[in-house]
């Protein structure tokens, strides 16, 4: 066999391996390493999308190996060498044209069928008995409401494993996009429109999500967390959320902090049930129980909470949350109060 042909065979093998390398690499990575991965499905919706993706990747790798391989073979085999004859002036070949028009069409048909099926399956009405959640996007945080429980919370979504979550999606200002990759695809929130999506989580755990449509200066800071709990944990969470805010002992630090909350200006934007009625910012009734603050931007520790309240625009550019004037003592008291709101 002539040397160029053997070389071409080796090259084809290498191209094949190279093409498969991505898949191999992916199989080696875990959700712990890549918490926001879209390739580690944890819900029915995400699994259907992953199935489609795997089908697409199969065809992509196959086509890549064949076509890129043909190119590489051609480039090597037909490179000019001394003594090589003049090439034959071939102008075309109808049979080839037909063949390489039909072959891609068939592959596309093979992909189109599961695509359309999945489109209709994932956009059908949510199964009965689903947990209703209303999502409202704001610049730059997420509001979550559970109408059947009359709960309003922000940035951290709790759902029970195994029960379908039916999400309605709206916005208070500009277009955002709601995306928990482990649960499935994203869906935009659009003014004057309510979108819907649903998914059934199949594992407990903590899953990060993020806004996926440019929505202004702090688009990168509009994050969120999903907590998939066991049914018992979820029920307990609901009970705690429906309860009123923790009432601080009189003359305690927390009581002084509540005073700060009520007089420093916070009430203009925030609701603490029974205490204040602001709607521009997240509901803080149980803010102490969240694991993160400022749309999952910082851990919810007294230190971070203090830094956040002390100068919100410095920590989240463009935020409407004002840098309210207060002394360091007042700030510490306020942080203690908010931390107590579990």
């Amino acid at each position: 066999m002539a040397a160029p042909d053997r070389g071409a065979k080796w090259l084809r093998l290498c191209a094949l391996l190279l093409g498969l390398l991505p898949l191999v690499l992916l199989l080696g990575c875990t959700l712990e390493q890549y918490p926001q991965s879209a390739m580690h499905p944890r819900s029915d919706y995400a699994i259907w999308l992953q199935d489609l993706l795997e089908g697409l990747v199969f065809w992509v790798v196959l086509i890549f190996v064949l076509v890129e391989g043909a190119l590489i073979v051609a480039v090597i085999r037909f490179r000019a060498r001394p003594g090589m004859p003049d090439p034959k002036p071939v102008h075309g070949h109808t049979g080839l044209e037909i063949a390489w028009t039909i072959a891609p069409a068939l592959i596309l048909a093979a992909v189109a069928v599961p695509t359309v099926a999945t489109v209709f399956k994932t956009q059908s009405k949510a199964p009965a008995g689903a947990l209703q959640v209303e999502v409202i996007g704001h610049q730059w945080w997420w509001e979550f409401r559970y109408p059947e429980y009359q709960i309003t919370t922000a940035n951290e979504l709790h759902v029970p494993v195994g029960r379908t979550v039916s999400v309605s999606l709206a916005t208070a200002d500009v277009i955002h996009s709601f995306w928990f990759p482990a649960m499935g695809g994203k869906r935009d929130v659009v003014p004057a429109r309510t979108n819907h999506m649903w998914f059934t989580p199949n594992s407990t755990g903590e899953f990060p999500g993020q806004c996926a449509e440019l929505c202004g200066i702090s688009h990168a800071n509009m994050r969120m967390k999903l907590f998939v709990r066991t049914p018992e944990e979820f029920d307990a969470w609901v009970v705690a959320q429906r309860a009123g805010p923790a009432e601080p002992d009189t003359l305690s630090t927390e009581a002084r902090g509540k005073q700060v909350f009520m007089t420093a200006g916070c009430v203009a934007c925030h609701t603490i049930n029974g205490v204040s009625n602001g709607v521009l910012g997240p509901n803080l009734t149980h803010v102490g129980g969240r694991s993160t603050i400022a749309a999952a931007l910082f851990d919810n520790t007294p230190h971070e909470l203090g830094k956040w309240i002390a100068d919100p625009p410095a920590r989240k550019p463009g935020t409407s949350m004002l840098k309210l004037p207060m002394s360091p003592d007042q700030l510490a008291d306020l942080v203690a109060y908010l931390t107590s709101l579990k």
């Binding site: 991505p22 690499l25 890129e68 480039v75 090439p87 891609p104 999945t118 956009q123 429109r193």
Partner: protein
């Protein structure tokens, strides 16, 4: 392939004034206008590249504070807008200008002054757009400017106004150029140059020009609505009045999808010229390559909502656009197969132009395949607005359009300047570009599918995005260095490059029959063409002699400054929307004076 020895005394005095700034400002010669477009566009390309490098520095590690979030948003907005409207499109236009009249056997384009006008509007529009950086901030709403983020309420500064008005100005430049090339290609072909004997590059120019004249009016209207909303309080995108912000998306992408074919078809045309030349055999399946280009042009109108799969248009709309998008992959694939079949059985010479052409095919296959993955809406919902899309667009736009354009530059540089670009530096440029392009953009496929959205100035440190972002940044620096090698090559070759004959490569098309650089009148006598690839036909010798023999009086259009004056006036008029009537009114007067004088300017 002797250079011409015929005298140029027959040429009109006024047009033959080759030196000095004034000669460039008043030129109506398509070859000079092509050079103006090319140099200007390349400078904007470098600016766009600088914007990219700044972004990559910011993203090289999480929580970085190299640029502010606000400036980062301006950077990606201007990077996209600059690369598309001030980079790739005018680079393509520089080839339309220089090459098309030569390929069809014409002395110039149909409307030389309109041609000059479109260049000056492009230059002034690009300057206007970039002035925003210094006058309150560049636009920061993305190159696609979705409403209602672009409303006065959510974008109170002037950045969006600069963006909208700037695009309107640039739209005029594109339309003017497109009209010119449609008429030139349809009406000014040499005897015997039937449509199906035209080089593929000229064909792609024709299809692209039709796409431009039909797509730009749609974005013009969208921008009119946006400007009316921002300046006069109309309700085109005001949800509170019952309007639908998604209307913007429909109008924008009705323009935007044909726009991406405007960006790729010229590069596809270029490599359809380069591959046969350096394979020493004709293009495989010429009619199929032409028809698939036309087919793509038509079908490109039917896929726009594949940019909107996450908006919630409903399963029927999503399925329809999925199917049309998959369909358009067929003619695209067919072209790729025909290019490979062109090389197959050839005798390949690896000049730098050929390396870039092969690189185009290789990278475009990858970009096309990731595009195929987006075509499925449910799968796309995990990909859209992530770095997976950023990977796709850069493989098709950088690996595709830009590499195709570099192929064209290496291929036609000898014709334009009379000197070869250095092959040593050229090969270094190519290999470094190919490698660093992949280092920059390949990781983005992964980081996108692993959850990193687009248009984010930073990211959380524990998501696993860190190493891949660092790799992309390193690649970006490499890409910048590779581009500097190219710049050095151009600067050196202009004065020290090896002199090039009329036909430096043994190519088949008409532009290689005449001297390098061509005389101002292009052809001494217009050639008579008998088929495809005239210089590879048995009539080649006759054609070469014919075109290098001056017969009779050659009338070339005289230079004129009215196109530049009109362009300045029109730009001032439109920029008056942002700057005020004290710029707008003088602009209107200047423009009317310019157009009037242009209309009544004598031809002799």
């Amino acid at each position: 392939m002797a250079t011409t020895t015929a005298p140029i005394a027959a040429v009109h005095e006024q047009s033959y004034s080759p030196s000095g700034l004034w000669s460039w400002i008043t030129t109506v010669d398509h070859k000079r206008i092509g050079v103006l477009y090319g140099v200007t566009a390349f400078i904007f390309f470098l600016i766009g590249g600088l914007e990219a490098v700044l972004m990559r520095i910011q993203l090289m590690r999480p929580g970085n504070e190299f640029v502010s979030p606000d400036f980062f948003n301006q950077l990606f907005t201007m990077h996209g807008t600059t690369m598309i409207f001030l980079g790739v499109m005018p680079l393509s236009a520089s080839f339309f200008n220089f090459v098309v009249p030569l390929q069809i056997g014409a002395r110039d384009v149909a409307f030389p002054r309109l041609n000059a006008f479109s260049y000056w509007v492009f230059l002034l529009g690009g300057i206007f757009l970039n002035l925003s950086f210094f006058l309150g901030g560049a636009p920061d709403v993305g190159w696609f400017g979705y409403s209602n983020l672009t409303s006065k309420q959510y974008s109170p500064g002037h950045g969006v106004d600069f963006w909208a008005v700037g695009l309107q100005i640039l739209g005029v430049a594109s339309l003017a150029a497109a009209f010119n090339f449609i008429v030139t290609i349809i009406n000014m072909r040499a005897p015997g140059m039937k449509l199906m004997r035209m080089p593929v590059f000229t064909w792609m120019t024709l299809v692209t020009s039709f796409l431009m004249i039909l797509a730009f009016p749609v974005i013009t209207i969208a921008l009119v609505f946006l400007l009316f909303d921002r300046f006069t309080g109309t309700n085109f995108f005001m949800a509170s009045a019952g309007a639908d912000p998604v209307l913007w998306q429909h109008l924008f992408w009705l323009f935007g999808h044909p726009e991406v074919y405007i960006l790729i078809l010229p590069a596809m045309g270029i490599i359809s010229e380069v591959l046969p030349t350096f394979s020493r055999k004709p293009l495989f399946g010429y009619p199929v390559v032409v028809y698939s280009g036309i087919f793509i042009g038509f079908m490109g109108w039917g896929v726009w909502s594949h940019h909107m799969f996450s908006v919630g248009l409903g399963p029927i709309a999503d399925s329809f656009f999925a199917l049309t998008t998959m369909l358009i992959a067929i003619p695209t694939g067919v072209k790729i197969f025909n290019w490979i079949a062109t090389i197959w059985g050839g005798r390949i010479e690896f000049k730098t132009a050929m390396l870039f052409a092969i690189g185009f095919i290789s990278m475009f296959i990858m970009g096309g395949l990731s595009g195929f993955m987006h075509a499925s809406p449910p799968s796309d919902l995990q990909q859209s607005d992530t770095y997976f899309i950023v990977a796709h667009i850069h493989y098709v736009l950088f690996g595709g359009s830009i590499m195709g354009i570099f192929a064209g530059i290496y291929y036609w540089f000898p014709k334009i300047t009379g000197r070869y670009l250095g092959e040593g530096l050229g090969k270094a440029h190519f290999w470094l570009t190919l490698v660093t392009m992949n280092v920059t953009f390949f990781p983005m496929h992964f980081v996108g599918l692993l959850g990193m959205p687009r248009r984010v100035y930073t990211y959380a440190p524990n998501m696993g995005f860190n190493e891949m972002n660092l790799m992309s940044t390193v690649g970006a620096f490499g890409l910048a260095f590779a581009t500097l090698i190219f710049v050095a090559n151009v600067l050196r070759s202009r004065t020290h490059g090896a002199p090039a004959p009329a036909d430096p490569w043994g190519a088949p098309t008409l532009e290689f029959a005449i001297a390098s650089p061509p005389p101002v009148y292009n052809f001494g006598s217009l050639p008579t063409v008998h088929g495809l690839d005239p210089l590879w036909s048995k009539e080649a010798k006759d054609i070469i002699q014919q075109v290098n023999t001056v017969k009779g009086h050659i009338h070339m259009p005289p230079s004129s400054y009215w196109p530049a004056v009109s362009a300045l006036g029109m730009t001032m008029l439109m920029s008056g929307i942002v700057f005020g009537w004290w710029v707008g009114i003088p602009g209107l007067v200047l423009m009317l004076v310019g157009f009037y004088s242009w209309s009544f300017e004598p031809c002799h």
